[in-house]
Amino acid sequence: MKSVRIPILKLYNCLLVSIQWELDDQTALQFQEDLLHKIHETNANGVVIDLTSIDFIDSFIAKVLGDVINMSKLMGAKVVITGIQPAVAITLIELGISLNDVLTSLDLEKGLEKLKQELGE
């Protein structure tokens, strides 16, 4: 087996990421690195990460996501997470992971709107 690269798209001053496959550890860590490089390269000040296709999140993936959100913040980009499925929300809370202070929206479209508001545009 081999990990895949998650595509990161640029839209105006934002980056869009839609995670379409089950995340293995390598893919998750590669994504963390790729996203930070892309923020640096493009000067993006907002990122939307869409998790609609993700059907579970364990504590490792939660940590990678939380870390990448904080790292992006350090670089000056706000992150909004969208499309968390009900089953994922339930298991995250039962794991004891609350993703406090993380901006979230129901779907990609609302996520982009939230980013615009947050960025004062």
């Binding site: 550890d25 364990d58 089953a87 039962e94």
Partner: protein, 133 residues
């Protein structure tokens, strides 16, 4: 009789294989999507703990039938270093590896039954069961 299938855990990819096996069995048994996510997450936590702390071991998934009541049992076994202080390891946020420390207490909350047997230098065996409601 209970039917068991196992995945040997040696690489990160085996963690993926173990949780896919668990999800498939959970689906077959008729668990709903939320329970499928709970079971998948629990297997992922236990398999990763084996990979990180014991380097190798095995995760087995068992179909259970108790007087017509169906369930799924996860058995995670390794011959690694064992857990020094189980009470501490079960505390939210306790981690010896810079992790979130959410794995063991999380699995306990995600599943209906949970049991750890561990002895230092000998290894760890964790069993967790989910029943269909």
């Amino acid at each position: 009789m209970d039917i068991q299938s196992c995945v040997n855990i040696q690489t990160e990819w085996d963690i993926v294989a173990a949780r896919q096996l668990g999800r498939n069995v959970a689906k077959e048994l008729g668990f709903g999507v939320v329970d499928q996510a709970r079971i998948t997450t629990a297997i992922s936590e236990l398999a990763r703990n084996i990979f990180i702390y014991a380097h190798k071991g095995r995760v087995c998934i068992e179909k259970m039938n108790d007087k017509g009541h169906a369930g799924l049992r996860i058995i995670a076994v390794d011959s690694g270093p064992g857990i020094n202080d189980i009470r501490l390891a079960m505390e939210d946020g306790y981690s010896t590896s810079g992790g979130l420390g959410a794995g063991l207490p999380g699995v306990k909350r995600l599943m209906d039954e949970f049991q750890i047997v561990s002895s230092q230098g000998k290894g760890t065996e964790i069993t967790a069961v989910k029943w269909i409601r």
